[in-house]
């Protein structure tokens, strides 16, 4: 027992160092994420409206130059400024989606945990059914029902995201519930509400902290995909996925118009994905709980 403990302590330190050691990732990633968030907030304010939205056929498909850093698209709009302006719809929608389904997931998991065996069984069957829909397919269905737009894509993704969170959190909460300290609180006469708020949730939610960043990265990717198949943001939106779609037919003549926004998505997903990994190492609940 004791040697496992002493073995874990040094190993944990080594993991952190291995990740930071490579490229100072631990410093760069949070900065990258912070910059992206700032961009999402101020992007639409600083990007000149004309460069982003006004068609200018004369200027179409210009290669990157001093005037247009990332070139122009088929309608002569400036790709660089469109990416800046589009950060908001891409990133903030993702944050909204993840927050939305996390809240839903926490609610459902709490109901399943507190409601006793039968409620748990029913809730988990519903979760299983909902999980059987692959996210993109489900979003296609919802978007088909609600009509294609960025907001129906957001709604669709909130509706597809919660079951994963609910199932994960329920598992963790079940495990927390089986810990002796919960029994200890119950035999002390602690009320259900207090049990949930002071004992179960504080010892379960850290799993979401870890999941959160990775979720944002994934959501950005799927949201872009939805725009790409035509059920997400619609033209002339500068949402990044929609930008790739708009430029896919001219990829042979003007590759920059499709490459640049896709690269923006990849970079953002990468930043949040790495942040998720760093949080994982920092907060890994399984290791810390010992």
């Amino acid at each position: 027992m004791s040697n496992t403990l002493t073995k874990i302590a040094p190993l944990r330190r080594r993991t952190v160092r291995a990740i930071t050691g490579v490229s100072g990732v631990q410093v760069i990633v949070p900065i990258m994420v912070a910059l992206l968030v700032i961009l999402a907030i101020v992007g639409p304010l600083i990007a000149p409206f004309d460069a982003v939205y006004r068609s200018n056929i004369l200027d179409s498909l210009q290669a990157p130059s001093a005037a247009h850093w990332l070139g122009t698209d088929g309608q002569g709009r400036d790709v660089f400024w469109r990416i800046i302006a589009g950060a908001q719809s891409s990133l903030l929608s993702s944050v909204l989606i993840v927050t939305g389904f996390s809240v839903l997931g926490i609610l459902v998991a709490t109901i399943a945990t507190l409601g006793g065996k039968r409620a748990d069984e029913i809730v988990m069957r519903i979760v299983d059914a909902a999980l059987a829909f692959p996210p993109i397919i489900f979003a296609l269905g919802v978007a088909a029902a609600l009509g294609p737009s960025l907001s129906s894509a957001v709604i669709a993704m909130i509706l597809t995201g919660w079951p994963v969170t609910a199932r994960l959190l329920r598992g963790v909460m079940k495990e927390t519930m089986s810990q002796p300290f919960i029994e200890n609180a119950r035999v002390l006469g602690v009320s259900r509400t207090r049990l949930m708020l002071h004992h179960v949730l504080p010892n379960s939610l850290d799993v979401l902290v870890v999941k959160w960043a990775g979720d944002i990265g994934n959501t950005i990717l799927i949201l872009g995909g939805l725009s790409f198949v035509g059920v997400g943001a619609q033209p002339p939106s500068a949402e990044w996925g929609a930008m790739v779609t708009g430029a896919k037919n001219v990829i042979a003549t003007a590759p920059w118009a499709a490459l640049a926004p896709g690269f923006a998505i990849a970079l953002t997903a990468l930043a949040f994905g790495l942040l998720g990994d760093i949080l994982q190492v920092r907060f890994n609940p399984a290791l810390r709980r010992r």
């Binding site: 291995a18 069957r125 059987a132 993109i136 790739v244 042979a252 997903a269």
Partner: protein
């Protein structure tokens, strides 16, 4: 004691999982039904198509029983499902189920190829990573995986098509089969049909057409599998029975093959089962770009045509596929783990 025999426990396990699969299927259908009900506007009008006359709309309303009370409608909906009636496409006027049946094998072929790629690449990578935990190899593999998971699928598809097809031209980048081959359709999956027709050249050609889309499709899912497999491997590597195996002189190679891998692949198998459905969905992003016919392109077209019933029918079929593949996974786990056969876990 006969009551607790392994055979009986196995049967109990299989029946229990089957029952829960059926319940999931019912729930799934309810979801789709509710989604239809949630469509803003008049359902009959949607079903009849945008250009239908008021009389046509009323006829559809009658035939679908939309003038009936909610629960009657729900029952009728289930009744139709049991007959395999997923409605009729408003664009092709073909049964939705038939339409999907025609394209499904091709998507499954693509997904299966992608899964083969994932398993054969990820397993050695994850094993290497776990064995060299936190070493340079591990970090390099991890970075590669994180990078490939961050690429938007549709964008990568475009990019590869542009680079490999247009710029370099090493593999065919569009369609399923080169024009010189003519293969009779039997299963609907090109490579399989070619082999059935005794034409290995055509099969090779079909495979070449599929390989790039399959790799693109495989990347993000491979990253998921890598993470879960690596984590599980590391966990299993720290288990006591491995120390015991080492203490009795089992060499490293045998340790990995006999004691580590079989004990680690459980969550991976479950994940691949779930991914089977998710990849069918993600095929939407790939098929269009590479000019492949499949469920993905079927659904994309349906969405573009506002062919609501075709979309929901597709959603339901894929949902069923997921439930079935999850059941297959449960059976695989049963074969793998004797404790499940004895009814001790799960």
């Amino acid at each position: 004691m006969a009551n607790n025999s392994p055979a009986r426990q196995t049967a109990v396990f299989l029946v229990r999982k089957a029952v829960s699969s059926v319940i999931t299927l019912i729930g799934l259908s309810m979801f789709v039904f509710l989604m239809v009900k949630l469509i803003p506007g008049d359902e009959a009008r949607v079903a009849a198509g945008e250009n239908a006359t008021p009389a046509q709309v009323e006829a559809v309303r009658k035939s679908l029983g939309l003038d009936q009370p909610f629960f009657v409608q729900l029952l009728q909906f289930f009744g139709r499902l049991l007959h395999g009636d997923l409605g009729t496409s408003i664009t092709t006027h073909q049964s939705v189920l038939q339409g999907i049946e025609q394209v499904m094998p091709q998507t499954i072929e693509l997904v299966v190829l992608a899964i083969i790629i994932i398993i054969s690449v990820v397993t050695p990578l994850a094993t290497l990573s776990a064995l060299r935990r936190d070493g340079a190899t591990d970090v390099a593999i991890k970075l590669f995986v994180i990078l490939s998971a961050a690429m938007p699928t549709f964008w990568l598809a475009l990019l590869l098509q542009y680079l490999l097809g247009t710029q370099i031209g090493i593999v065919p980048i569009s369609g399923r089969l080169s024009r010189q081959f003519n293969i009779p359709t039997q299963t609907g999956a090109v490579v399989v049909d070619s082999l059935l027709a005794g034409n290995p050249l055509a099969a090779w050609d079909g495979l070449q057409h599929l390989i790039v889309p399959a790799i693109v499709l495989a990347l993000p899912f491979g990253a998921q599998l890598y993470r879960i497999l690596r984590a599980e491997l590391i966990q299993v590597l720290s288990r006591e029975h491995l120390t015991v195996a080492r203490a009795k002189g089992v060499p490293q190679r045998q340790l990995v093959w006999r004691h580590v891998l079989p004990n680690s692949i459980g969550p991976g198998i479950t994940l691949v089962g779930i991914q089977f459905g998710a990849m069918t969905g993600a095929a939407v992003l790939v098929e269009g770009v590479f000019g492949l016919v499949g469920v993905g392109s079927y659904l994309t077209n349906a969405v573009a045509q506002k062919d609501t019933f075709a979309v929901l029918g597709g959603v339901l079929v894929i949902g069923v596929l997921v439930v079935v593949s999850n059941y297959v996974v449960d059976v695989l786990q049963l074969i793998r783990d004797p404790r499940l056969r004895a009814g001790q876990l799960g």
